[in-house]
Symmetry: C2
Subunit: 342 residues, 2 copies
DNA sequence: CTGAAAGCGCTTACAG
DNA sequence: CTGAAAGCGCTTACAG
């Protein structure tokens, strides 16, 4: 901890009370402008920085929020974080970021850490583990502290918190529809996140689109896996067995991996097989051919999440809100031109 | 801020003093095990979480460190952050992360925010702006607070802080050497970070390798740019004008972009042009052909940085340390097999 | 083994 | 316009 000049130090030097210093610093109308001037100057030359802890101990508010996020390696989360930070700093809020690494235990530990750092509120996107187990007992305990919480992306509807998500169902539905409208007949869904709320919605959107196809419904092929270890083998087997001609991937990595695998196996993309992936990340943009994606507007998700939390802070009894950010289908070169108009 | 049970609440319930509660909680040998037992149980049922702020106000130490990093979108920084967080949590430290977005002003603002959050120490990787200007006056002011600081990756040697970097010069030297040993004669260096300490070392490593080639020295082509906007145009012009046959890129994006541009222009990689990039990120791994890279072991850089800071915390007067983490040349398919042994 | 008291750095109602 | 005093939630030397 740094050696800091305190209000008391300044009071001694200027021969006034600490109350006066405190008030002058917060620009209270009770203080004469002469005094304010002197105090400010002193503060500047001494490099005074208010002690955030002492202040919040009194004021019961810290202008600090906490974030619990699965990781920062995924482009989506990295961008969300950027969005949160940018928006928060506009309002003078500091952001404490923690990573759950998709583990329920460290997620809970992080939550507690944030609470004992007296954050004013918390933004959370749940770990794979808690979403898989579906056991939100930890969150009930956390609720006992009465701290405002906003869920984003990976959420749980059973919890009475505000939420910010993208329209995963609709995004997936739209992408699937685009695939068959451009001629695909045997479309597979790839997902390493089948146990998350997000993964489930995307799967439903995919299945739903296949069922609702006007004339005849199309067969579905769900390829779900826990890790990328055996991805290539798994994917190429299904590919050959069912002569797939369209791929919808629930995340960036599986989109890229499927694209690479297809090419290595000698398939031409998009002439023989079309590919659409979720997340408009750097890999999608630099792939060859460039990848058509469902863009999630991650920064906007972050910014919006902060706004919702901020509103919750000032109005704790408002009805809970569930914000949905529209995703966008960005067509690039891994999909064919359309055969039918939507 | 959450409504929390305090030590005082528990003292009332159990009819003992706050001192006893405090001591019981910190497992002081002075307290009977019976009392400890009762207190712990009570703490558990009441969901007691110690107020970190109050504690640090007394103890003058917070077990919290701050990080100032340019961004979290670059794979390198994301991984460093993971490394820091992982290592810090081993020792019960909390990590406050802030982003400078490569701006000198917000970098300074972040530093001050961290200090008034009473972090025990700070880890920093400088913004492009401060490195370009070379004006570290802000850091001198920060030094006035006497807070331990460790620089990582983008550092400034004139400052009396510990540092952790990778061997940028050697990594670049080795990569360049590999390029000409595998037959490249006209090797260019691509850099969007020419103004950073890291960028400068990599450039020197490249130039140095070209000069020291045994028989005859090779021509150098430095392509430096501030943004990727006109990358393609700039790059393809130099490429054609000088018939380049080898590329060393100082970051992941320019490596990928150059690879893509080469292919779009009809060059075969690596038969006609070889490419090596810095950063072993997801793009490099998923590129087609897979990209040979200088891997920076980013997580290790993060973990090591935390360790150095932690040591500094306990021994403030030790000689400053400059740790260098060895980089590694990972050969994949964007470079040819060797002609000459190194 | 336990308690009363002081103090960390601030803010703010109360008094003048 | 300014000051003395109490208190936020904790820790710890001092006393018993």
């Amino acid at each position: 901890m740094a050696t800091m000049t305190t209000i008391k130090d300044m009071a001694e030097v200027l021969q006034v009370s600490t109350s006066t210093i405190s008030r002058a610093l917060s620009d209270s109308p009770e203080i004469s402008s002469k005094t304010k001037e002197r105090v400010r100057e002193m503060a500047k030359t001494l490099g005074y920085v208010p002690n955030h802890y002492a202040r919040s101990l009194k004021s019961k508010t810290t202008k600090t929020i906490g974030v619990v996020v699965p990781n920062v390696i995924d482009d989506f989360f990295a961008k969300v974080l950027h969005g949160i930070e940018k928006e928060a700093s506009k309002y003078g809020f500091t952001v404490l970021i923690t990573f759950s690494n998709d583990s329920k235990k460290s997620e809970y530990k992080n939550l507690l850490t944030l609470i004992n750092h007296s954050v004013d509120g918390i933004l959370i996107s749940f770990s794979k583990e808690i979403q898989k187990l579906g056991d939100y007992g930890n969150m009930l305990k956390i609720m006992g502290y009465g701290i405002p919480i906003v869920m984003f992306d990976r959420i749980h509807k059973g919890l009475p918190f505000d939420s910010v998500t993208i329209d995963d169902f609709a995004g997936s539905y739209r992408a699937t529809k685009h695939l068959y409208n451009s001629g695909c007949q045997r479309i597979a869904f790839l997902s390493p996140i089948s146990n998350t709320s997000v993964g489930r919605s995307r799967k439903e959107g995919y299945l739903s689109a296949l069922k609702r196809k006007e004339n005849n419904s199309l067969p579905s092929f769900c390829i779900e896996f826990g890790s990328y270890k055996k991805f290539k083998e798994l994917f190429s087997n299904v590919l050959k067995a069912h002569r797939l001609d369209g791929i919808l991937a629930a995340d960036e990595l599986s989109a890229i991996y499927s694209l690479n695998t297809l090419q290595q196996m000698g398939y031409e993309v998009p002439r023989e097989v079309s590919v659409i992936g979720f997340t408009n990340g750097p890999m999608a943009q630099s792939a060859n051919p460039t990848l058509s994606v469902v863009s999630q507007h991650a920064e906007r998700v972050g910014a919006k999440s902060f706004q919702v939390l901020k509103n919750r802070l000032t109005n704790s009894r408002a009805k809970t809100k569930n914000i949905v950010i529209a995703s966008e289908l960005l067509l690039r070169n891994s999909t064919r031109a359309m055969y039918l108009e939507e």
